[in-house]
Structure formats: C-alpha cells, structure tokens
C-alpha cells in the first residue's frame, strides 16, 4: 500500500467532496447548540447557586432538589422525557400556546441541555462563591457598599476566577455529550456523521467525527487556559 492509498483509506477525496460541506454544517449546529445552552445554563446555574446559598429555606430546598434531579439522571433520559414525554402532550401545549416550542426537536434539545448543564454549573458557582474569603464581605460592608455592588464588583469577579477551570471542564463535557442530540433528529456533528455513514458505509466517516470533536475540545481547552492565565494573573 503506497502513501496515497493509505491517505485515501482515512480521507477519501470523493467522500470528502460529497460529505465535507455537511460536516461543516454539523459542526456549526453543534457549536450553536452548546454555546446557547451553556450560556443560558450559566445564568440559570448562577441563580440556582445563589438560591442554594440564600437564607431562605424554601429556595435552598428547591434549588437542592433541582440539582439533585438533573445531576442524578442521564442527560439522554432528560432529553427523551422532554421531547417524547412532554412533546406527547400536544393538545395541552396547544392550549397554552407553547406547541411551537415542544414540537421542535431543536428547542427541546436546547432546553434539556440548558436545564442539565445549569445543575452542574450551579454546583461550580456555589463552590466558587464559598471560596471567596469572608474578609472580602467584611471589607465591602465596612465600606457601606450596597449588596448588589458587593456581589457584582467584589464577590462575583473573584469567584469567576475560581470557577473558570471547572466551567471549562463542564463545557468540554457538554460538547461531547451534545452528540446525543442526533438521537432526536438534530443534524449536529454526530447527526451528519450517522447520515453519511448510513449512505457510504465507510467507517472513516466516524474517524472524521472523532477528529473534529477532538479538535473543538482542544481549541476550547487552549482558549480557556489562556483566559484563566490572564484572569488569575494577580491572584497568585
């Protein structure tokens, strides 16, 4: 086997021409799916963390229950529950005017991913908020800073520096877990891979997918390392 043949074994030019553009599309869908759900999940997660750390027992319990449920069951089960479970209550959603939402696999997937990552991110935020030294709150109080100023200017920036590493890990896990979106008809990276394979029956398609996932994860990992180094510059 010469070099060209070896190359064609892994990257067949015909195959690439036929399915390459679809892979780009799939990559974009995966990126969009993860970016949106991760960002919304961060907002929800922060609120959940604050609820868990609040003095209100009801909020604490609700938040703890939420986190317990979403971390304790598989993402796949949550996705199916939303898409097939809630999605089967067609007349109900039509009555409340939400059918447009639960009809679409895309929205259901976004929702499931957001709810799931929010639970993990809530725990990350909770830990990082608790890691801020009590003296910081005291200094803020001694300066008569308002609670909102204390939180946004003093506490949150410091806790984000602690959180960024674990958040990066969560993002990477999300990117890989997002492949299950393909099970509810989403043509994300995994979705186009399955499609291309079902037509070509060439295993190299899966190799491409693996390499592409690896590539995104690596890019994310490096960017995070860079950001982390910049943010934490003055805290060591």
């Amino acid at each position: 086997m010469n070099l060209d043949a070896l190359l064609a074994f892994f990257v067949d030019p015909d195959l690439l021409e036929r399915y390459g553009p679809r892979f780009i599309d799939g990559l974009l869908v995966t990126g969009k799916l993860v970016a949106i759900s991760f960002t919304l999940g961060a907002l929800l997660g922060l609120l959940l963390a604050l609820a868990r750390l609040s003095n209100n027992v009801l909020l604490q319990r609700l938040s703890a229950g939420y986190i317990y449920f979403f971390r304790g069951s598989p993402l796949l089960a949550q996705l199916f529950l939303l898409y097939y479970g809630l999605g089967s209550l067609k007349s109900f959603w039509q009555d409340v005017g939400m059918w447009w939402f639960f009809r679409e696999a895309w929205y259901c997937t976004l929702l499931a991913f957001t709810l799931n990552t929010a639970a993990y991110q809530a725990e990350i935020f909770r830990g990082s908020l608790m890691a801020v030294a009590p003296g910081q709150y005291e200094a803020a109080r001694a300066l008569s800073l308002k609670r909102s100023t204390t939180f946004f200017k003093v506490i949150l920036p410091q806790s984000l520096i602690v959180a960024i590493g674990p958040l990066g890990n969560e993002l990477i896990l999300m990117i890989k877990a997002s492949a299950i979106a393909s099970l509810v008809t989403i043509y994300d990276l995994m979705g186009v891979t399955k499609l291309a394979f079902s037509r070509s029956f060439d295993f190299q398609i899966y190799l491409w997918a693996a390499v592409l996932y690896l590539l995104i994860v690596e890019i994310v990992r490096r960017s995070l390392k860079h950001i982390e180094a910049r943010l934490g510059r003055h805290l060591r």
Binding site: A142, L143, V154
Partner: protein, 262 residues
Amino acid sequence: MTAPLSLAAARPDTHPDPRKVVVSIDGLNKFYGDFHVLRDVDLKVREGERIVLCGPSGSGKSTLIRCINRLEIAEKGTLLVNDTDLALTTRQAAEVRSEIGMVFQHFNLFPHMSVLDNCTLAPMSVRGLSRKEAEERARFYLNKVGIESQAGKYPSQLSGGQQQRVAIARALCMKPKIMLFDEPTSALDPEMVAEVLDVLVKLADTGMTMLCVTHEMGFARQVAERVLFLDGGQIIEDAPPEAFFNNPQSDRAKGFLAQILH
C-alpha cells in the same frame, strides 16, 4: 494629663470634657451562641479621641470594635454613633455608618482590583463621586500614606506594609469621621510595622477619632489618650497610657503587661 493617678480607673465624668460624644455605648452584651463575649460594656468616645484597646486573646476586643460599625450585632444594650442608632434602617443611619472607616488585620483589599480601583470603588458607588473626583481623592490619600506611585499595581504586587497603607487610604477615601483599627500591624513582618504605625501617628495628628486594637505599646504611649484593657468581655481598665502602663490597677492588667513587656 493632669488627672491624679488614683482617679485613673474611675474616670472621667467628674471632669467634664467639652468635646462631643461620638460613640456612646451603654450596657452592651454580645453572645456567640451560649458564649458571652461582651459583658455590660459601657464606653463613651469623644470627638478626636484616640483610644487603644488591648487585652488577652479572646477578650472581645475585635468584637467590641466590630459592633461599632455593625459588622457584629449585639443582643443587648444601646450603641449610638453621633446620637444615631445604627440598627435603624433610615438614611441617616446608613450615612453615619458610612462615616466609620475600618482597617483589618489582614488588610482585606480586593485582590482583583488595582490599588486605585480599591480606593475609588466605594466613593463612586456609595458617595456618587465621578470617576475623576474619586481618582483625585484616591491619589490624595495614597500620597498621604506614601504609596501614590503604586496606584496602578495590584495588591498582590505590594508588600504587607504597603497593602495595609492602601487599606488605610481606601478607608480614608470615604472621609470617615471615626476610624476603627483591628490589630493593623499584627499580620506584618517586623520591618514593616513602623511604616504603618507612622501613618497611624500622622492620622492621629489630623485630629481623627480613632479606636485601635493593638499591642504596640510604644504606639499607645505616643498617640493614645486612653488605653482600655479588656478581659473576659469587660473593660477592666480605662486610663491614660502613662497611668495604665506605670500603675495598672487590676491583677489581670498587671499580668498582661508583664507578659507583653517581658
């Protein structure tokens, strides 16, 4: 001080002091759970007075000064600052509280902000100063504490003594009427204690009302008008420094002085 030494322990209401009372504490009691930290503390601080608090570890010194700006809340007794009960949620109470500055043993600077930003945050967000005004004020006080050239640095890039001076400048930027210090030099390496004490002496010279928890007895002799000795949550002695150091009344104060002066 002309007061006869024998009167030192039972001062000074017989000698009317014309200065206004700015902190008035009456029958203050504070508990941590079952632990009775402050027991019936009475204290009057007059405008411009410089008071040093000392006493063994755990005697309640920090708790007492933290009660004054409500970092701790006492269960019983009254505590008025400028005739205002800071427990109230009125505007005036908030205003008075914002005029009490505090410096901590471990500086508690905001590590993610530059020295300048540490000093401008509260004046801008609490006092409503513009950035320009706040920076001017910050530079003025940073200059006073001898650290203006470091304004752009981050706290972690400064020595402990420099950080504590920044913390003092940060508090002064709020133009406080009363300054509280909780062992401001005890977390410092010995060679940095003097630079911070110098700043405190200069501040005392400006007529600032100061309450300072410290075991720096040289400093107490130099600037304090009164030394309070706390033990077991009570003020056991309240006397001018000379009287306190040369002629402590209680055995506990004698023992304490013997220990820290070797």
